[in-house]
C-alpha cells in the first residue's frame, strides 16, 4: 500500500473520529445544564437583545453586507480577466460586459426597492 | 378460416357496460329517472352479443374456436411489450355468458330491490362497471390485461360492498376486502415479474408456449404466486376472512360478485394457467390442498351462522373450495371445476336473490332464528330457493349433482395418499353442505313462525317475538329468481349428458382420457347421495321437526368455534399481531378504523417499523445532518469494502 492518498484518508477518518469522540464524550460525561444564555450568540458580554421582533434588529447592516458581496463576486472574476485581458480579446470583453450587466441587475433591484436608503 | 363478424366485435362486450357506467356517472342526477333501465339494457345487450358470439363459435370446427383479437399496443417498454388483446375461446366465452346472463338477471332484480334507495343510479353504474371489469378479466389475452380486470373487479366490489357507506362497519368491511385482495394482487404481480424474468413475456400465448421448457423451480414459484392471487380473489384459506364481511353490501351484489362471478376469478386463473401448473406439480398440489381445507372450513362455518347471508357466504367459500380442489387435481379436474363454477353461479345466485327476497319481505332481518314458516307467505321464493337448495345438495337430477359428483369422483382419482385424502374430504364436505344448507332452508321456510303477524295475537309465548308482515316480492324480483331456478334444475343435466360441456372446453383444457377412481363410480354416487340425505335428515330433525330457539344455544365447542369463523380473526391476531402488542397499540392510535386479519399483520408490522424509524425524525437539524454523515461514511465504507 504505497498509495500516497492513504494517509489522507486515514487523517480524514482520524479527524472525523476525534470530532465525533469529542461530541460523544461531552454528551456522555458532561453535565447538561442548557439555558438561553448558554446557547445564544455572544455579543461582547452585553446581553444579546432578545425579541427584536419589532424591527429593532439592525437589518441595514445585513443589507450592506449583501451589497458588499455583490461587488466581492464581481472582483473575483475581474482579476483573472484583467490578467489575461489581451489573450481573451473580444470574446472576453463581451462576456465580461454581459457578466457586469447581470451583476448590475440585483443592484438596480436593491436601489429601487429602497435597500440603499439608510433611514 | 371462416369469417367471424361477431367475434371481431367482442370488444363491444366490454365497451357497452363501460359506456353505460360512464353515462351514469358523468350524467349525475339528470339520469336518475331512467339510469337503472340503461344499466339493465347495457347488461342485456352484452348478454345478447355473447349469445351471438357463442352461436357463431358453435358453427366453427373445434380447432378454429380460439380467436386472439389484437386491440392496441399498450405498454411498449424495452424488450417487454404488452399488447391489449382479447382472447375469445370456449373457456372465456363460458365466463362471458355466465357473467352477462346472470349479470343481466341481477340487474333486473336490482331495479326493484334498490327501488327505495336514492342512489340507485350510482348503484347501477357500479354494477355496469363491475360487469365491464369482469369481462376484461376473462377476455384478456395476457396476464397484464387480466390484471387490469382483476384490479377493476376489486375496485368495483369495493365500491359496491361499501355502497351503503353510511354505516361504519360497511366501510370497514369494504376496506378489509380491498386490503386482503391486495395481498392476492401482490402474488399476481410477483407471478408476472417471474414470468417476465424467466420467459420475457406476460401474454398467454408466449408464456404457455415457453412454459414447457422452463425451469421447474421458477414454474413452481410462479404457480404458487398464482395460487396466492387466486386465494385472495376467491376467498380461499388463508385469505378467506373478507368474504363474510363483504356480505354487508346490498344482496344483489352478494349474488353477482360474491357468489356467481368475481370470487370465481381465482378458479379461472388457475384453469387458464394450466400450462404453468402442468410444469409445477407442487404448486398444483398446494392448490388442491388449499381447496380441500377451504371446502371443509367453509362448510363448518356455514353450520353455525345464524345470519342467512353469512351462511350463504360460507357456503360459497366452501363450493369454491371444491372448484379449486378440482383445478388443483390437474387436467382431469379443469373441466369439472369450470362446470361446477357455472352451475354454482346459477344456483347460488338464485339462492342469494331468494335471501334478498326474504329480507325484503321481513324488514331487512337477516337472523334465521327470526324466520320460520315463510313458505306460505312467500311461495315463489320458497320454490325457487328450494330448487337451488336441491341443486347444491346434489340431489339428482338437479344441476349440482352433475357437477359436484364429478369433482368428488375426480378427487378419488390418482395414486398414493392423495385420493384417500381429497376424496373423503370432498365426500364429507358434501354431507356437511347438505346439513347446513338444509338447516338454512328449514329454518327459513319451515317449522314454526318465530315472528307474529300483529301485536295483539295475544298468545303468551309469542310475547317477545317481533312483528313482521312477510309478503312475496314484486315480479321484477321473482322473475330473475324463477329463471335462475330453472337453470338450477336443468342446466347441469343439459350440459352434462353426453359430456357436452367437457367437449366444449376441450380446445382449451385439452382432451383427457377417462380415469377410474380408486372406488367404483356407482359406489361413490351411492355413498354421496346417502351421506347427503343423512345430512339433510339431521337438519330436518333439528330445525324443521323440532322448535328452533330464538336465542342461539351454547352449542358444542365446534359450533362455538364455527360461529366466530373458526377463530379466523383471532388466529390472524395471534399469528400476526400479538408479538407486536405494543406495536398494535400505536396502530390503534394511528388508525382507529384499521382493518383486521392479515391486513392488520401487514399494517402493524409496518406501523411498528414506521414508529421506530419515525423516532429518528426528531425535528432537530443536527440529528438529520448526523444521519446524513453516517450515511455518507457507511456509503464510502460499503463501496470500498465491496470493491472488486
Amino acid at each position: 500500500m504505497t498509495n500516497p492518498y492513504v494517509p489522507l484518508l486515514v487523517m480524514g477518518l482520524l479527524a472525523f473520529v476525534m470530532g465525533l469522540a469529542g461530541l460523544l464524550s461531552s454528551a456522555v460525561i458532561g453535565p447538561k445544564r442548557y439555558n438561553k444564555i448558554k446557547v445564544d450568540a455572544y455579543e461582547c458580554g452585553i446581553q444579546p437583545s432578545p425579541h427584536a421582533a419589532s424591527g429593532r434588529f439592525p437589518v441595514k447592516y445585513y443589507i450592506v453586507a449583501m451589497t458588499f458581496i455583490i461587488f466581492d463576486i464581481e472582483v473575483v472574476f475581474l482579476y483573472p480577466w484583467a490578467v489575461a485581458f489581451t489573450e481573451l480579446a473580444t470574446f472576453g470583453l463581451i462576456a465580461m460586459i454581459a457578466f457586469l450587466l447581470l451583476i448590475t441587475v440585483p443592484f438596480v433591484y436593491e436601489w429601487r426597492r429602497g435597500g440603499l436608503d439608510w433611514d | 378460416m371462416q369469417d367471424t363478424p361477431l367475434t371481431n366485435l367482442a370488444w363491444l362486450l366490454i365497451a357497452i357496460p363501460l359506456a353505460s357506467a360512464a353515462v351514469l356517472l358523468v350524467g349525475g342526477r339528470r339520469t336518475n329517472a331512467w339510469g337503472h333501465w340503461l344499466g339493465v339494457v347495457a347488461a342485456a345487450a352484452a348478454a345478447l352479443l355473447g349469445i351471438g358470439i357463442l352461436i357463431e363459435m358453435l358453427g366453427l370446427p373445434e380447432a378454429e374456436r380460439i380467436h386472439d383479437l389484437h386491440l392496441f399496443s399498450w405498454i411498449p417498454a424495452g424488450d417487454l411489450s404488452v399488447d391489449a388483446g382479447l382472447l375469445v375461446d370456449p373457456l372465456s366465452m363460458t365466463f362471458v355468458l355466465l357473467i352477462t346472463f346472470v349479470g343481466a338477471l341481477i340487474h333486473v332484480y336490482s331495479v326493484a330491490y334498490m327501488e327505495h334507495d336514492e342512489n340507485r343510479r350510482r348503484f347501477f353504474a357500479y354494477l355496469n362497471l363491475f360487469v365491464a371489469a369482469m369481462l376484461v378479466l376473462v377476455l384478456a389475452d395476457s396476464y397484464a390485461l387480466l390484471f387490469v380486470g382483476w384490479e377493476g373487479v376489486g375496485l368495483a366490489s369495493y365500491l359496491l360492498i361499501g355502497f351503503w357507506n353510511q354505516r361504519t362497519e360497511y366501510a370497514v368491511a369494504a376496506k378489509k376486502a380491498f386490503v386482503m385482495n391486495r395481498v392476492g394482487d401482490m402474488g399476481m404481480l410477483i407471478a408476472m415479474m417471474l414470468m417476465f424474468a424467466s420467459i420475457g413475456a406476460v401474454d398467454f400465448e408466449t408464456v404457455f408456449a415457453a412454459a414447457e421448457g422452463t425451469n421447474e423451480g421458477i414454474l413452481t414459484a410462479t404457480g404458487l404466486m398464482l395460487v396466492l392471487a387466486a386465494c385472495g380473489k376467491s376467498a380461499q384459506f388463508p385469505l378467506q376472512a373478507w368474504l363474510g364481511d363483504a356480505m354487508a353490501g346490498p344482496t344483489p351484489v352478494s349474488a353477482l360478485i360474491h357468489a356467481a362471478t368475481m370470487v370465481t376469478a381465482g378458479v379461472y386463473l388457475i384453469v387458464r394457467s394450466a400450462p404453468v401448473f402442468e410444469g409445477a406439480p407442487t404448486a398444483q398440489l398446494v392448490a388442491a390442498i388449499i381447496g380441500a381445507i377451504t371446502l371443509l372450513f367453509g362448510a363448518i362455518v356455514g353450520c353455525a351462522k345464524d345470519d342467512i347471508k353469512k351462511t350463504l357466504a360460507a357456503s360459497t367459500m366452501s363450493q369454491i373450495g371444491y372448484m379449486v380442489l378440482a383445478a388443483g387435481l390437474g387436467p382431469i379436474g379443469y373441466a369439472f371445476a369450470i362446470f361446477h363454477l357455472v352451475t354454482h353461479g346459477f344456483f347460488k345466485a338464485g339462492m342469494f336473490l331468494g335471501a334478498g327476497s326474504v329480507m325484503h319481505g321481513m324488514g331487512d332481518e337477516v337472523n334465521m332464528r327470526r324466520f320460520g314458516a315463510l313458505r306460505r307467505s312467500m311461495q315463489i321464493t320458497w320454490i325457487t330457493f328450494g330448487a337451488g337448495w336441491l341443486a347444491i345438495l346434489g340431489i339428482p337430477p338437479f344441476s349440482g349433482f352433475w357437477s359436484k359428483d364429478k369433482i368428488i369422483e375426480a378427487a378419488f382419482v390418482g395414486e398414493g395418499w392423495q385420493p384417500w385424502v381429497f376424496g373423503p374430504i370432498a365426500l364429507l364436505g358434501a354431507g356437511i353442505t347438505a346439513f347446513y344448507m338444509s338447516r338454512l332452508f328449514f329454518m327459513t321456510f319451515h317449522g314454526k313462525a318465530r315472528w307474529k303477524e300483529s301485536e295483539d295475537s295475544a298468545n303468551e309465548s309469542d310475547k317477545d317475538l317481533p312483528v313482521q308482515h312477510p309478503h312475496e316480492s314484486p315480479l321484477l324480483m321473482t322473475v330473475p329468481m324463477i329463471v335462475l331456478a330453472v337453470g338450477s334444475v336443468a342446466l347441469g343435466g343439459l350440459l352434462a349428458i353426453g359430456d357436452t360441456f367437457t367437449h366444449w372446453l376441450e380446445p382449451v383444457t385439452g382432451h383427457v382420457e377417462h380415469h377410474d377412481p380408486v372406488i367404483a363410480i356407482p359406489v361413490l354416487i351411492g355413498a354421496t347421495i346417502a351421506i347427503v340425505l343423512a345430512g339433510a335428515f339431521i337438519a330436518w330433525r333439528q330445525y324443521a321437526a323440532s322448535a328452533v330457539p330464538v336465542t342461539p344455544p351454547e352449542g358444542s365447542v365446534l359450533t362455538r368455534a364455527a360461529r366466530v369463523d373458526l377463530y379466523q380473526d383471532a388466529v390472524n391476531e395471534a399469528v400476526f399481531a400479538t408479538p407486536g402488542a405494543r406495536v398494535t397499540e400505536v396502530l390503534t392510535e394511528a388508525d382507529t378504523t384499521v382493518v383486521d386479519g392479515a391486513a392488520r399483520g401487514l399494517g402493524s408490522g409496518a406501523v411498528g417499523l414506521g414508529t421506530w424509524w419515525g423516532r429518528l425524525q426528531t425535528g432537530f437539524v443536527r440529528s438529520y445532518a448526523s444521519i446524513m454523515v453516517v450515511g455518507v461514511v457507511l456509503a464510502v465504507v460499503v463501496v470500498l469494502a465491496t470493491r472488486v
Binding site: N3, Y5, L9, A53, S54, V59, L88, A89, F91, G92, V105, P106, V108, Y109, R112, R113 | S73, W74, I75, P76, A77, G78, L80, F147, V148, E151, G162, N165, A171, A174, K175, V179, R182, V183, M186, L189, M193, V586, A590, T593, L602, V607, L609, G610, T611, W613, G614, Q617, G619, V621, Y624, A625, M628, G631, V632, A635, V636, V638, V639, R643
Partner: protein, 520 residues
Amino acid sequence: MTFVPPSIDWAALAPIVIVLGAAVVGVLIEAFVKDAVRRMVQVILAVVALGAALVTVAWRWTVVQAQGPAELVGGAIVEDTPALMAQGVVLICAFLGMLVIADRVGGEDGFTPVAAGAPGSTYEAQARRLGLVQTEVYPLVLFSVGGMLVFPAASDLLTLFIALEVLSLPLYLLAGLARRRRLLSQEASLKYFLLGAFSSAFFLMGLALLYGYSGSVRFADLAAAVPAMVGMDVVLLAGVVLVLVGLLFKVGAVPFHSWVPDVYQGSPTSITGFMAACTKIAAFAALVRFLYAVVPGLTWDLSPLLWTIAILTMIVGTVLAIVQTDIKRMLAYSSVAHAGFVLLGVIALTSSGISSVMFYLLVYGVATVGAFGLVTLVRERDAEGNVTGEATRVEQWAGLGRRHPVLAVCFTLFLLSFAGIPLTAGFVGKFTVFAAAVEGGAWPLVVIAVLASAAAAFFYVRMIVLMFFTDPDQDAGSTVVRTEGTTAIAVAVCAVATVVLGVVPTPILSLTSEATKFML
C-alpha cells in the same frame, strides 16, 4: 497558449436562455413596475416564458432527431434526447406548478406579504392590510427552473455543481415564504438550507476528489480515466460516492431524505408541489446521466450501495408514510418511496431503464403537482367561521367526498396513481420501471418494490376511505375555497393526464424510449 473562444449555439441554448432571461427580466420588473400591476405582469411573464421554453424544447427535439446530439459551450452542456426529454418533463411540471403558484386561492396569495417581517409583528399586519405581495416568488421560481434545465444537460461536474446551486438556492428561500404557519415555514427554510448546503459541500468534495483522480471534471474524461485505476481507486470511489450523495440528497433517497418530510410540510403548499415534482425530475435525470456517462465501469463497485439505498428508500418511505397524520407529510414520505421506485429503473442501467425512469417521473410529477394543488384548496375554519390555513390533518378530510365530489375524485385519482392501480398512469409507470429492473437483473429489488407498493396502497386507500366513507368530524370541519381558475386548470390537466397515460400510454412511452436513442 492561445485562447480559442468557444462557439456558442444560441439556438440550442434557447430553452435555458429563455427561462433565465425571463427570471432576470422579472427582477427588473420588481424594480420598476408599480405595485398595482406587478403581480399580473410577473405571472404573465413567468407563464409565457415557461410555455415558450417548452415549445423551444419540442423544436430542439426535432432538430436533435434530425442532426444528432451536440456539445454546447465548449462541452459544458450537451444537447441530446435524454436531456431534452428531462427538460420537457421539468417544464411541463413547472408550468402546471406555476399555475398553482399563481392562483390566489380563496382571494389571497399563498405567500407572506413581507418575508422580512417577523410573524405576528405589527409590520407584517400593516403589510397585510396594505395588500402587499411578495412577487419575487415568480423570478425565484424561474431561476430555479433555469437550474433544473441545466442540471440534466450538464456534462461536467462544475456545471452540474453550479446548476445544483442555481436550482437549490431559490428553493431555500421559497420554502420560507408561506403566508400562514410562518414559524413552520421559516423552520422548513432553515432546515432545507442548512442540510442542502451540507450536502452540496459533500458534492463539492467529491468533485475535488474526482478532479484529483483524473485531472478533469468533464464526464467524458472521467469515464476515460475510470479504467486506469492504478492505486488511486480509493480516491475515485470516494469521489464518486460523495458526488452521488449530493445527487441522492436532492432526490430524497434514504438516508439522505430526512429533510424531505419537514420541508414539504412547512413550505407553502404550491411550492411543495412544484419542488416535489420538478427537483426530483431534474435530479434523477442528472443522476442517470452521471451513472451512465461517467461510471459504467464502476457498476460492480456501486451496485451494492445503490441496491441498499433503493431498498432502504422504498421501505422507509412506505413505512413512515403509514404512520403520518398530516397529508403533506404523508405525501412527502410517499415521494420518498417513489424515489426508491425510480431508483429501480436507474439501477437497471439499460436503455429501457432510462425511458422507464423518464416516464415514471412524468407520471409522478403530474400526480404530485395535482395532489398538492388540491391540498391548497382545502382549508380550516376557525371558531368564527373564518377561513384560515390549509386543513392538512388527515381527519379534516373526512367526508370530503360527499361535500366536494369532484375534488375528492381528482384526489382519489392521484392517490390511485401513486398506489399504482391499473388504468392510472402510476401503474404503467411502476410496471415499466419494474420491468426494466427485472431486465437489468435486479429482480430481488422488484420483489421488495412490489411488497412496498402493496403496503403503500394501505395509506392511500385509508385516505380514500376517509374521504368517501367516513363522517366528517364536526370540530375539525374543513371547507373548500374558490380558486381563481388556474389551480383548477392545473388539477384538471393533471387528472386527465393521469388517466390518459394510464389507458393509452403508448405514444408517450414510445417518445421516452426514443429519448435513449441519442445519448452523449
